[in-house]
């Protein structure tokens, strides 16, 4: 079993912490926001309790929570053998974090950047351990997804890469090897698709529901791109598209203004109760979302 540091207690960090703890690893979960930690723990407990209902195995929620220690201070990571970073997809925030975290964590530990877009080589350059720096792109919801993208940086050692592959395997994840490039494979394609889908809503070509219906009914996808955006987080989508736009300096990645508007308005999808669709008990009161295509229903997610 490995003692793993997890930084960031948002949707991805909580999912990674849960997956690790469910598989018997001990987790040190750090977030500077105590409310985020509280919310993450309560979410993990709920997910574990509901496992059987969702067709999974029975999970002892108490035992899982018992393997997770938490703090707002990075010092909790000092003894971690692997540290998985899951903070917002924002270069400045990540830069500040890695500078602060590198001297605190023991020198033989491997850093894993859980990012959907930022080049691993660039992140590794922020630390004094570029050989022990690996990129992993986890999918959401983490505990339920069977595969990840595994990305070495320019200087990553084979030993570090294999160590992370073993850890992923113990979490039930198949690692798919991808070379380092902004957006890797998944997000170069997915983020442009979601961005273009948002443009269709923005330009009144179709409602969010109609766009998703085309993908579900015509292509047989289990979810449409805007349902997916709500699940991932509209703000996260925007940040990812901005990273692609900034990195490639190519206008094809220009973020849709609707994504910016929704992010500013707090319409971040499932996690805030409203995005392209409305969720939660206030659904009927909220009515159609500011996205113009929002409807009061829970999109299919099986």
């Amino acid at each position: 079993m490995t003692h793993v540091g997890v930084v960031g207690a948002g949707v991805m960090g909580a999912g990674v912490a849960q997956n690790l703890a469910q598989c018997g690893h001990t987790v040190a979960l750090v977030d500077r926001d105590p409310d985020a930690i509280k919310q993450a723990l309560s979410g993990i407990e709920t997910q574990c309790r509901m496992s059987r209902l969702l067709g999974g195995p029975e999970i002892d929620a108490e035992a899982v929570i018992g393997r997770i220690s938490t703090d707002t201070d990075l010092l909790l990571l000092a003894e971690a053998e692997v540290v998985i970073e899951n903070i917002t997809e924002n270069w400045e925030l990540k830069r500040a974090l890695y500078r602060e975290m590198d001297p605190v964590v023991r020198p033989d530990a491997v850093f894993v950047a859980n990012t959907s877009a930022i080049p691993i080589t660039r992140l590794a350059s922020l630390t004094k351990r570029p050989r022990q720096f690996v990129g992993v792109h986890f999918m959401n919801p983490v505990p339920m997804k069977p595969a990840v993208e595994l990305i070495p940086g320019h200087h990553t050692s084979q030993a570090a890469l294999e160590r992370v592959r073993d850890l992923l395997s113990s979490m039930g994840k198949k690692a798919i090897d991808v070379n380092d490039a902004c957006g890797f494979v998944s997000n170069r394609v997915l983020m442009l698709t979601v961005n273009e889908a948002a443009y269709l809503v923005h330009e009144n070509v179709a409602t969010a529901e109609t766009v998703d219906e085309v993908f579900r009914s015509c292509f047989g996808h289990p979810m449409g791109p805007l349902e997916t955006a709500d699940l991932i987080g509209v703000d996260t989508i925007l940040y990812s598209v901005e990273v692609l736009y900034e990195h490639y300096a190519d206008s094809k990645y220009r973020p849709c203004p609707l994504l910016k508007h929704m992010t500013d308005a707090g319409l971040h999808g499932r996690k805030t109760g409203e995005g392209f669709y409305s969720y939660g008990p206030s659904a009927t009161a909220t009515g159609r979302s500011a996205a113009g295509g929002g409807t009061d229903r829970s999109p299919s997610h099986d």
């Binding site: 709920t46 209902l53 969702l54 929620a61």
Partner: protein
């Protein structure tokens, strides 16, 4: 008392799926609109609304299959809470 339990549940489901009208013994899972995420929302709603906690062994889809099944579950949990409190 059963109606007191069924009414808020019915309202919760109708708010999400206005096109559905439900009989008390109708299998909502068979209607095809309930996915795993909605089943979870339903559990959270029932716990929040009726102040109960569904124990692990009761967290199975059969207990959330019909309005009557959910009413029975809530009634049973409320009863055992009352007994343990008093």
């Amino acid at each position: 008392m059963s109606e007191d339990i069924r009414t808020p549940i019915r309202e919760f489901i109708s708010a999400k799926f206005p096109q559905i009208s439900l009989d008390d013994d109708e299998d909502i899972l068979a209607l095809g609109f309930v996915n795993s995420l909605f089943a979870m929302e339903l559990v959270m709603f029932v716990e929040r609304t009726f102040g109960v906690r569904v124990p692990n062994e009761q967290l199975k889809l059969d207990n959330f299959r019909t309005m009557n099944a959910m009413a029975d579950l809530v009634r049973g949990l409320s009863e055992s809470m009352r007994l343990s409190a008093g």
